[in-house]
């Protein structure tokens, strides 16, 4: 079973989105606030009717604007976990799950609800009301209620946003475990890129209701189709440059950056003289030793910041003679310690040719990087 949707509307939130999610696949919708993520989920569930497009699940058409088809929300068999869980406050955990079992004979509902609560590791808490449960327990009741309907599609709207970091990690693991046993399309809305990368098979980046790119998380970070996608996925190493030479034979596109040549693998789409943006994931920046400083794409730099957490250090270093141009990379804290990576340390950085991705130029991205890292304030919630 595959969920395929094309959603169009001009107001209240403009939409021009294409969504496709296979059985057993988890698709994450990411994008800044107001990019239409939650509206898309509501359209899929039938809680919001877009002015154009279609929603199909397997052989069924749930919505088709051109044919006037609009199946009601309860007939779509969608499991929906809301950001605030939307549990009925006056009902116990058991009764909340039983509400989703109206299709079963009354005498069977309690047993089924208990089964789903047990699968969510909530045994013993059946009689508690939402107010008597912790945030994490409420979320698990919401997931049990969504799954009890044996839905054809599971939609999760920022299910972790109301939880503290520790509970979040715990529930994230449980969701990873749970999703292995679910052979239905799962769509997760999140503004947390790490959460998306951990859980998702593929990610769709949204901006103003438009789908910009859909790809596996690693692919999306390594090969963004535009500087905007790179910005929305929080890529720190994003700069403007000019194409100075092309050579398919040596698999090289040479770009001029800060007056120095930089080699990328061959990008046939660009011509000599074109303005471009280049993106390099943090993993593509290699800390090299002094005697290796004559390698290709190697720059002298000075460490300006080192942020360490749980054995990993994110290091920011500015390029020699360009104090306003900073590269970011990640290393283990033990390596950082051993190599003396502290603010002020002089280092050599190699920018991996194969990891450099070129995209069309973007007016917001200059040679020195983002002119304004967050021009509309929309990249962060």
């Amino acid at each position: 079973m595959k969920l395929v949707a094309r959603l169009e509307q001009s107001a209240p939130i403009p939409l021009a989105a294409d969504i496709a999610c296979d059985s057993g696949e988890l698709l994450a919708l990411v994008g800044p606030s107001g990019s239409g993520k939650s509206t898309i989920l509501r359209c899929l569930a039938g809680l919001h009717r877009p002015s154009g497009g279609s929603v199909r699940c397997g052989d069924e058409t749930w919505f088709d604007a051109s044919r006037g088809v609009d199946v009601s929300p309860q007939q779509r068999r969608v499991g929906f976990v809301f950001q605030h869980y939307a549990l009925f406050p006056h009902l116990s955990a058991l009764a909340n799950v039983m509400v989703a079992l109206q299709h079963l004979p009354t005498r069977e509902r309690a047993a089924h609800a208990r089964h789903w609560l047990a699968r969510s590791k909530l045994e013993g808490l059946e009689t508690r009301r939402p107010a008597e449960l912790s945030g994490g327990q409420q979320q698990r009741v919401a997931i049990a209620r969504a799954l009890a309907r044996e839905p054809q599609v599971l939609l999760l709207d920022e299910p972790f946003s109301a939880l503290d970091q520790v509970t979040r990690r715990k529930l994230l693991r449980q969701l990873i475990e749970l999703r292995r046993s679910l052979a239905i399309p799962i769509i997760l809305v999140t503004h947390d890129l790490e959460e998306a990368a951990l859980l998702a098979d593929s990610m769709t980046v949204l901006h103003h209701g438009h789908t910009l790119q859909t790809a596996a998380p690693d692919e999306l970070l390594a090969r963004p189709v535009s500087a905007l996608v790179a910005r929305l996925t929080d890529q720190p190493n994003l700069f403007g440059a000019t194409v100075s030479a092309q050579s398919a034979a040596t698999d090289t596109t040479l770009i001029d950056w800060l007056g120095q040549p930089l080699q990328a693998s061959h990008h046939a789409a660009f011509a000599v003289g074109d303005r471009v943006c280049w993106v390099l994931p943090e993993a593509g920046v290699i800390l090299v030793r002094d005697h290796q400083a004559d390698r290709e794409n190697t720059f002298a730099a000075t460490v300006s910041e080192r942020l360490a957490w749980r054995g990993h250090a994110t290091v920011t270093a500015y390029i020699a003679d360009h104090r306003d141009v900073a590269l970011s990379f990640a290393i283990g804290t033990a390596v950082a310690q051993r190599r003396g990576i502290v603010p002020g340390a002089r280092i050599a950085l190699q920018l991996q040719k194969a990891a450099i991705c070129l995209t069309p130029a973007d007016p917001a991205i200059g040679t020195h990087g983002s002119i304004n890292a967050d021009p509309t304030g929309e990249l962060r919630k």
């Binding site: 569930a45 809680l47 929300p73 605030h84 939307a86 109206q102």
Partner: protein, 39 residues
């Protein structure tokens, strides 16, 4: 005794219900949506 404990039970339930006031409009809307989905 029984009557007192059942009154205490009712009061506890009322307190629990009051504690959960779906304060935000978003939360109220989500509950409305959940009702529609669950039929």
């Amino acid at each position: 005794m029984n009557e007192r404990s059942s009154r205490a039970d009712i009061l506890a339930r009322v307190r629990a219900a009051l504690q959960h006031d779906p304060a935000s409009a978003e939360e109220r809307q989500a509950i409305k949506h959940a009702r529609r989905l669950l039929g």
